[in-house]
Amino acid sequence: MSNVAIFDTRTDAKIPLESPLAYAYRRFGAPAATARSRVTLRERPFLGHLILRGGAIVLDEAVREVLGISLPGEPQGLVLDAEGERSIQWLSPDEWLVIVPGGEEFTLENRLREALAGAHFAISNVSGGQTLVELEGEAARELLMKSVIYDVHPSHFPVGKGVTTVFAKTTVILRRPSDARWELVVRRSFADYTYRWLLDAGEAHDIGVER
């Protein structure tokens, strides 16, 4: 076990929790999906986000043991578990993003630290700093084409790929876990901006927001 002070950021105390988009919903509204909607937006707040840093080989062993999925070794790789609930994404040659259902991240962090004992690594819990926004529907790709500089054509962006790129005037981690669904990992402080941009750009596609 490494000599690092860690603590569970989730408490049992009755503190009202608000998603990073809570203010944007109140201030800018959330148009409901209709039959005409060609794209829907859904936030998946309060997930557990961990950043793993270290050597690919030792991290891969630990992740296989603890999470049961392998670490994507190739650039732009994204690996999901059988249920599609847990994912690991390549961010840079020594950095990976792990997203797990909310509440699991502290146990996972502890188990990874145990499995990695002695190795040179770092794990940061960044759950509070970012949120996940999903886009689904036939116009999702068109909407992304207006928003990101990366080529999102299926021939260039197959399922199982994820990149960090420029979105409007900010950055996002863009991933494609399945054929129809795109995921955007956005910074909490830019969640409002991203949401408003998506509503505006999605107006032409009658974007609907599922809450």
């Binding site: 080989i57 650039p75 840079s92 040659p93 020594d94 500089i149 420029v166």
Partner: protein
């Protein structure tokens, strides 16, 4: 707008994701205390401004956030190659068509400098 090949991401990415960081291959003096003022000043402030092949340090700021090197032609602006930290360029002033012998570096050495292994 043009594309730059990131050696760490292994693909061409838009220029907007990158940021230039000046001249590459500047070695910090091993013993700064033993430097003369002139040597230290040269290291800190003086940079080459060649007409032709120039080696530059760039960072994939929005992306993998790794630093890497670019060999660029300052007249045509052509990017001749991009290579990882710790590697040597194959295009140099002596070898403007590429194929500098110095380019051969042991892969393990490169991997270590790139921080790939624990």
């Amino acid at each position: 707008m043009f594309n730059i090949h990131c050696p760490y991401c292994g693909e061409l990415r838009e220029e907007e994701e990158f940021h230039p960081k000046g001249q590459a291959h500047i070695a910090r003096p091993a013993d700064p205390a033993a430097c003369t003022d002139e040597e230290w000043g040269d290291y800190l402030f003086f940079r080459d401004n060649p007409r032709g092949i120039h080696h530059e340090l760039w960072v994939h700021a929005v992306g993998c956030r790794k630093f890497f090197n670019i060999t660029r032609h300052t007249v045509s602006y052509e990017i001749l190659e991009t290579y990882k930290m710790g590697e040597q360029p194959s295009f140099t002033a002596e070898y403007p068509q590429g194929g500098s012998d110095a380019a051969a570096m042991h892969p393990a050495q490169v991997a270590q400098q790139a921080g790939v292994h624990a």
